[in-house]
């Protein structure tokens, strides 16, 4: 293990307020995703792919991001299981419902892309794509600009374990560690153990994918992706290191995939997977921070919020067919 020191500090503790905030965001993300699944099953969308089971990783990441536009802030090269991160950053669940229904009001693609395919320039979230690896080649570009610019902004690249099999992962390791040109990049592997239906154990020789960073001289580590506090500390340590040293870090978080790959595989709850939300609620109850009733109240608040949002989205228009001709090219600018 090659983790920065703070992640190993067993005495480190989160403030109770922050723990409850993490829980709140986890519930928000989980219930949003579960509503999305119900929508696609009910014919209110064409396809679902998302992040239930990755809240313990995605929420802390969202809390630790320097949000803003331009190289002074963090760039996000996300994959399609990033709703906990983006919701924690302040995205509204209604906008995910809009993208699921492909409405004209979908702020991320105006009905053009799958749900969880964000594009938010004001927060440096570059367009999410259905490809599982291309973000690994694009991330060094934003990091290169940040390194030259100065400051503390970093480029965060997320992906799954399956995507690391593509050559783009090696590209990222190489381009982030060129001697004298090391880049402020966080490579975050959410290892859920599957590539669609194929077990990782069938296709990858080692379950410790982060170790591939070692020969490049890149620091790396592994964390329990079902433990939000462990994730918070591991991410904080990695991000602090990158911000300060302007060098890359590769972190692997071992997560669950609670509803399978996507709606194409049925999106049924898989009961033998660990559930980070259930585990965290039990832990907070044990610590005396969150009773069962209080937890249920959080769920109920988000259920009501989502119900209202859904009713709103049902009233919103679909794109006009003529919209396909919009935004093919950006208009010319004065130079």
């Amino acid at each position: 293990m090659n983790m920065p020191r703070t992640a190993k500090d067993k005495a480190a503790k989160l403030a109770p307020e922050l723990k409850l905030r993490i829980h709140d965001h986890m519930v928000q993300a989980r219930l949003t995703e579960e509503l999305l699944i119900r929508l696609v099953r009910g014919g209110q969308g064409y396809f679902w792919i998302g992040a239930p089971g990755e809240e313990a990783l995605g929420v802390p990441l969202g809390l630790l991001i320097d949000k803003g536009e331009g190289p002074d802030h963090d760039y996000l090269h996300l994959h399609y299981r990033s709703s906990p991160t983006v919701l924690t950053m302040g995205a509204q669940p209604i906008d995910l419902l809009r993208q699921m229904r492909s409405t004209a009001t979908d702020p991320y693609s105006r009905g053009r892309n799958f749900v969880n395919h964000f594009a938010i320039k004001a927060w440096n979230i570059v367009p999410v794509t259905p490809t599982i690896e291309t973000q690994y080649t694009v991330g060094p570009g934003t990091a290169w600009v940040q390194k030259r610019h100065g400051g503390t902004g970093i480029s965060i690249i997320t992906g799954g374990d399956a995507g690391t099999a593509e050559g783009d992962f090696a590209t990222c390791l190489n381009w982030s560690t060129r001697p004298g040109h090391e880049l402020p990049v966080l490579i975050l592997i959410a290892h859920n153990g599957y590539g669609i239906s194929t077990r990782a154990a069938e296709t990858q020789a080692s379950p410790h994918l982060h170790e591939r960073a070692g020969p490049f001289g890149m620091r790396h580590g592994e964390v329990d992706g079902n433990d939000p506090e462990a994730c918070y500390f591991a991410l904080q340590a990695a991000i602090d290191y990158i911000r300060k040293e302007r060098k890359p870090f590769c972190l692997q978080a071992n997560v669950s995939r609670l509803y399978g790959h996507s709606s194409s595989s049925g999106a049924q709850l898989i009961k033998d997977e660990r559930d980070c939300l259930v585990e965290y609620e039990a832990r907070l109850e044990k610590e005396g921070l969150l009773s069962k009733d209080a937890a249920e109240a959080v769920h109920e608040r988000w259920r009501a919020h989502l119900k209202e949002a859904y009713q709103q989205v049902l009233q919103e228009p679909m794109p006009d067919s003529a919209d396909i001709w919009k935004h093919i090219f950006a208009p010319a600018q004065e130079v």
Binding site: S109, T131, G141, W175
Partner: protein, 351 residues
């Protein structure tokens, strides 16, 4: 007169000084080599990359996302084929994000035959490039246009594919680039790196000026009544030479240099075809699903009843590569005699 590679170099220098170019990069693009065709010698924002085309295209996209203005070079277009999905992402970022992001980047790459490049240094790319929406595509055939098209590309808020015909990279122009010294030797002394140790060398750039060839604007190189010849890149000067030869026989042609392949200057093409009633398209890409077929289809869509003879496409043979031996290369891509024969035949077809 600058050659085409020098014209690109001068344009990139102008871009660095005046158009916000932040990064010119690729394999051997920076010092000491300055590009395998010397197109990037002496420029101040150049850097060398790993031999990793996917890394080059992806990094360019990232730089553009972060507010930079990158020019990425793929050393030969033959090596860009493993980047098709990344090129697609560059082209669809604006559309898929419904206008949230745009991608001001240029990818330049030498294309085509003519330097005995064999199977992996002779490919054409325009037909495949034109299948990737969201890109503008240019291909100059002379140094002045190479300069003006590059400046246009560097002013674009969208991705531009700059295809450089490698057979013409050493060909000198007939018109001066604004600000270029009239004396060729002087220019060479100012901007060409010396052979051997270059560690102490720096260019002495001439004060080149703004000169933009608008994207989407073709050039009528020769005017005539008998037939229209449409081409670009390496085959364009061959078509001009053929037209000059045939004019001696009393056969005069419109010869049109597309310069920009996307978007097409349909108004110029239609105007010419409506005048002549005959059209020949010449390029060297393989003939099946050839870009010229697209041009023909669009002309037939709009000018079918103006045609006096069957339209013709003269393109590369549909074979897997351009062979090294001259006998093989000659037979694979159109040469001067092929073009001359095709023009003569088209001109003599009965209406």
């Amino acid at each position: 007169m600058a050659n085409l590679a020098q014209a690109i170099r001068l344009a990139l220098h102008y871009g660095e000084e005046n158009l916000g170019v932040t990064d010119i990069f690729g394999e051997d693009v920076g010092p000491p080599l300055g590009g395998v065709f010397t197109a990037t010698q002496g420029l101040k924002t150049t850097w060398n990359t790993p031999l990793d085309e996917r890394g080059i295209i992806g990094t360019a996209l990232g730089i553009a996302y972060a507010g930079g203005r990158p020019v990425a070079e793929i050393q030969f277009c033959d090596y860009v084929f493993n980047c098709i999905d990344l090129l697609k992402l560059c082209g669809n970022a604006h559309w898929s994000s419904a206008g949230e992001y745009n991608v001001p980047m240029v990818v330049m790459t030498p294309v085509g035959s003519g330097i005995h490049g064999s199977i992996y240094h002779s490919h054409s790319f325009e037909s495949i490039a034109s299948h990737i929406p969201g890109w503008k595509i240019v291909m100059p055939s002379n140094p002045l246009d190479a300069y003006g098209l590059m400046l246009a590309a560097l002013k674009e808020p969208n991705p531009v594919m700059y295809l450089a015909p490698k057979a013409l990279l050493r060909v000198k122009g007939e018109e001066l680039i604004p600000g270029e010294p009239a004396d060729e030797k002087t220019l060479n002394q100012m901007i060409n790196a010396p052979l051997g140790d270059r560690s102490g060398w720096a260019p002495n750039w001439p004060k080149v000026e703004d000169f933009t060839v608008p994207l989407g604007k073709a050039k009528v190189c020769r005017e005539g009544q008998r037939a229209t010849v449409i081409s670009y890149g390496r085959t364009l000067p061959l078509c001009v030479t053929a037209a000059d030869e045939l004019r001696k026989e009393g056969l005069d042609f419109d010869v049109i240099d597309l310069r920009t392949l996307y978007p097409l200057d349909m108004a110029t093409l239609q105007g010419s075809l409506r005048k002549t009633g005959r059209v020949l398209i010449v390029n060297e890409d393989t003939e099946v699903t050839n870009f010229g077929e697209h041009v023909l289809r669009r002309l037939i869509d709009t000018c079918f009843y103006d045609l006096e003879a069957a339209p013709v496409l003269l393109a590369g043979a549909d074979v897997p590569g351009v062979g090294l031996a001259w006998e093989l290369e000659r037979a694979s891509v159109p040469q001067q005699p092929d073009i001359l024969a095709a023009m003569r035949k088209l001109a003599s077809e009965k209406a």
